[in-house]
Symmetry: C2
Subunit: 309 residues, 2 copies
């Protein structure tokens, strides 16, 4: 079982309009409501790949109920076990007129008691999990080291843990020793300000600095050029056979999902990275974040070139 955690889930609304013109009124031709949040995207990709998952996190209020209702349509292998909070789950509104314009509500404030209760709930779910994936931002009210608490609990339970977040939430969780982090370019630049991140050596230097904080593996995405991974078993580079065009939102979640799946099946690094690059590309080729074009995934995975650095 793979456990995904979405502390700051959202009710995602997509509004299709002809053309967004500031300071005008727009008739929305199509409204799509979706259960949103990076951890839920990871769970959906895993479900597309045939894995059993439990998606947990925090949901509250009417928007939270709507998210739970939308998740009710998930396939049987994607179970949900969210904890309820008093605050209102945030909405995100994305206005699409060819390109996308996003509006993120600030989201709920989680109380101390709700957080303590969630940690208990999560710890119980760890007992049936092999891998945990912690994704996305922290809602207000949570301590900055909230992910450190969840990483520590996973390690204590013998569950491998992937952490995909950024900023202070990531920095505060590094000493707890997550098995894998996926920093963005900003974070890499922060730990290695002198490194040239356009080069493989520069990325490796930054990843090495991050690993020094106690992290198992550092995975650095290079967009259409694939991945660089600094792992306990060595450094690797994985490059897709060709570029895929589409929507890059959700590619990172698909990448993380593929790694979690590989760990669940004890696949060694070259194979895990091959899957991760193919899943990212297949997510780019799919219309919505959290979807995955399985044909693209299957056709690409054997063409991904993994080299040890």
């Amino acid at each position: 079982m793979i456990l995904t955690v979405t502390l700051n889930a959202a009710l995602d609304l997509t509004y299709v309009v002809d053309a967004l013109v500031p300071h005008r009124a727009h008739r929305v031709s199509t409204v799509v409501e979706k259960a949103g949040g990076k951890g839920l995207n990871v769970a959906r990709v895993l479900s597309h790949l045939g894995e059993k998952t439990v998606a947990t996190g925090l949901l509250g209020g009417r928007n939270g109920s709507r998210v739970a209702e939308l998740l009710g349509d998930s396939p049987a292998r994607m179970r949900t076990a969210f904890a309820t909070i008093a605050g209102e789950t945030r909405r995100t509104v994305v206005v699409v007129d060819g390109d996308a314009t996003g509006f993120w509500e600030p989201g709920p404030v989680v109380t101390e008691a709700e957080w303590s209760s969630f940690v208990g709930h999560y710890t119980a779910l760890l007992t049936i999990s092999r891998v945990a994936v912690l994704s996305g931002s922290l809602p207000a009210g949570l301590p900055v080291d909230a992910y450190a608490v969840l990483v520590t609990a996973a390690r204590a339970a013998g569950v491998r843990v992937v952490l995909d977040t950024s900023g202070p939430a990531l920095a505060a969780a590094l000493p707890a020793g997550p098995d894998l982090v996926k920093p963005n370019a900003e974070e890499l630049a922060e730990v290695a300000p002198d490194a040239d991140l356009s080069t493989v050596d520069g990325v490796l230097a930054a990843a090495s600095a991050l690993r020094g904080h106690g992290v198992g593996t550092v995975l650095a995405s290079r967009g259409p050029e694939g991945l660089i991974a600094l792992t306990p078993d060595g450094a690797f580079r994985a490059v897709p056979p060709h570029a895929v065009s589409g929507n890059p939102t959700g590619a990172g979640d698909a990448c993380v999902a593929a790694i979690a799946r590989a760990w669940r099946h004890r696949t060694p690094w070259p194979g895990a990275l091959r899957d991760a690059v193919a899943a990212s590309a297949a997510a780019v080729a799919a219309p919505q974040a959290g979807d995955l074009d399985t044909r693209t995934f299957l056709s690409l995975r054997h063409g991904v070139a993994v080299t040890e650095l």
Copy 2:
């Protein structure tokens, strides 16, 4: 009792952002949720003016429940008696960065059975009403002559009826003989394409053409320059003592509310128009549609100049 009807109510979301930039992501600093719809604005203004109202219309789904919950905070003299439909009440999102950018969801599709049931519900409410105010657009699924049905029922019950809508919904209701309509410039131009609507004579000509369809009174707003009314008792012009700056959204609803209140108290035309112009200006001076600055209302009403044309 004054009955207000809002067939296409909405959950209004106001998102405050620093600056709206198309094709970027925006953090929303403040979210305001409000029960929206022109008929509800009319009811709120009436409530500010001390009148007892019943607000009816159609609500459905989670958004509808949220609207009902928000209406629960209304003062006791503003009662609500909405009928429930299966479809989901629409949301409107207005992004404010100094100026406003609006996104209107398409809204629910009302079934024939829901409409028949609502007509019965409305007819029952007419028995306790002196005046009915029908405001706003028609949701999908309703016949284009829906307002004609409601106007006919009001007249049969001896209830005076104000119709504030536009386009085909207005055109189809004219033969039913509403006691007052408040056409916009487009509608006036349509019935009298040769009239110069920048002149009082031009507006009177257009209003006269509209009255020919069976309407009691035609009220034409001239924005900061006040109102022109073609009534069964003659033609009038009402001009405010000075311009008021602020938010013009909701001024039309305040105007209609003042007329309904005047009818409820059998106030003759000059006084009714004085109130209507003062209420419009007081709504412009208030921060939110449906609010009314009562001090502005009281200070302006005696300064409004009403002349018979």
